[in-house]
């Protein structure tokens, strides 16, 4: 067998080989599509879907968490503001209460003062009256002694009262 004949043996197209290749290829294609590629690609697709879902849900949860955080922040700020408001209000109330108390105390003190003053005035008036009466009595006695004369009590008493009243009307008394 010369080389030329051998060389032509691999350029030779064998229809049998073509047919066997087709048969093998088609059988392999159908078997592998069913047994190997189908399950493999499905598993990969499921995995990809899972990953996409996981990313999506993570994003969603993150957004939700951020929203919640913002809400919390607002709530905290609001609570703080409310507390501050409350404190201020309490302080105002206290202040008001204090002022009320003070006013009341002051009023009571004033009342007491006024009462005291009135009592003092009354006492003074009475004392003055007493003093006046005593003075009249004394001056009568003095006059009695001086004149050694017994005078009509009532007439002289009236006279003396007149005198003392006049005395009281003068500004220097």
């Amino acid at each position: 067998m010369n080389s030329l004949v051998l060389a032509s043996s691999f350029t030779d197209v064998k229809p049998g080989l073509i047919i066997w290749t087709w048969i093998t290829f088609i059988v392999v294609l159908f078997i592998l599509r069913r047994v190997a590629w189908g399950p493999l690609l499905k598993s990969v697709e499921d995995r990809e879907k899972n990953i996409v879902n996981a990313i999506e849900s993570a994003k969603r949860e993150r957004a939700e968490a951020e929203k919640l955080l913002a809400e919390q922040k607002t709530a905290v700020a609001q609570a703080r503001q409310e507390a501050a408001e409350q404190v201020r209000k309490t302080q105002a109330d206290l202040e008001k209460f204090r002022e009320e108390l003070m006013a009341k105390a002051r009023k009571e003190a004033d009342d007491l003062k006024a009462e005291a003053r009135r009592t003092i005035d009354e006492e003074r008036v009475r004392a003055v009256a007493d003093v006046r009466a005593e003075a009249v009595k004394l001056s009568l006695q003095v006059a009695e002694k001086l004149l050694s004369e017994r005078l009509d009590d009532a007439k002289h008493q009236q006279l003396a009262s007149q005198f003392v009243t006049d005395l009281a009307k003068r500004p220097s008394a």
Binding site: M1, S3, V5, L6, A7, S8, S9, F10, T11, D12, V13, K14, P15, G16, L17, I18, I19, W20, T21, W22, T24, F25, V28, L29, L32, R33, V35, A36, W37, G38, L40, L41, S43, V44, D46, R47, N50
Partner: protein
Amino acid sequence: MKQVVGLIVVAFSLALLAAPAFASSGSHGDEHGAPKDKAGASSEFILHHVADDTEFEFELPFVHLPPIHLAELFGKEPGQGLYLERVPGACSAPVDASQQAFESLFRFVNGCWDLRPTKAVLSMWIAMGLLALVLFLGRGRDQNGVPKGLFANVVESLVLFVRDEIAVANIGKDEGPRYTPYLVTVFFFVASMNYLGLIPGFYTATSALGVTIALSVATFVMTQLAGIRSAGVVGFFAHLFGDVPVWMKPLMFVVEFLGLFTKPFALLVRLFANMLAGHMVLFFILSLIFVVHLGASVVSVPLATGLYLLELFVAILQAYIFTLLTALFIGQGVALGHHHHGDDHAH
């Protein structure tokens, strides 16, 4: 350091492979009874190795497995088994010189249907067996569907590469997944045959023209089906006339019609030539040891080792290119339906 050791191992195994293989080629010469020169014996051995045949010899060092006589299993004489003879005498009739290059084809047309599985078919089946084994070993997944183990990870990354970088990238996001199983099958089919051929003692089915023709025809059919599916029968044929003035349409038809066939033709020749040439060059370089001088091994063994490593890359590269171009053609077919007579026809 590890790589250097690996290279030395590969080199030695290649040398061991070559020695008995070429030694056995001497016995071929004895069979024919005529003494042969070393160069002639070597070239005969190489051509015998790369050519498809009904004899399958495991050309292994030390291991002497009995050759498989496919002819005896499936029909030795015309008319027996799968060696069909539709027209009496068609298989034994002499062929003239002009038909010698395509002898089997002419005999088939004349009524000699030689359907016996050959070395290439047997290699294809062995490759498919190994592919099935790899896929079986790579079936492990945990409860989340994440691949477990080396094989599972390699298989899944390759499948996803074909899906994302070949199918979806060339056909589109909508139609890509439909053709993914086909493309993945083509990729693994071609790649496993290419890799089987790199195991010493086995034959590369993709270096037989019949295999690449069959695959190209499958791609051709797939491409046209994709076009018809996408554009409809009328749209598909309207496309053949192109978007040109009426008087140019017949010319356009010829160009487009030829284009339908030139594309898969380039595909089949590329795969066939790459796989055949790689193996032949590897053998020619090693045969220098026997043809020129034993000292040539100093040059030819490292060179053959380098080539072998290159072939390891070429094996997957050619599978990738075949799949990529198939996806590209299918993508063009799918695009017919999406923009009628658009200006971005990718040819």
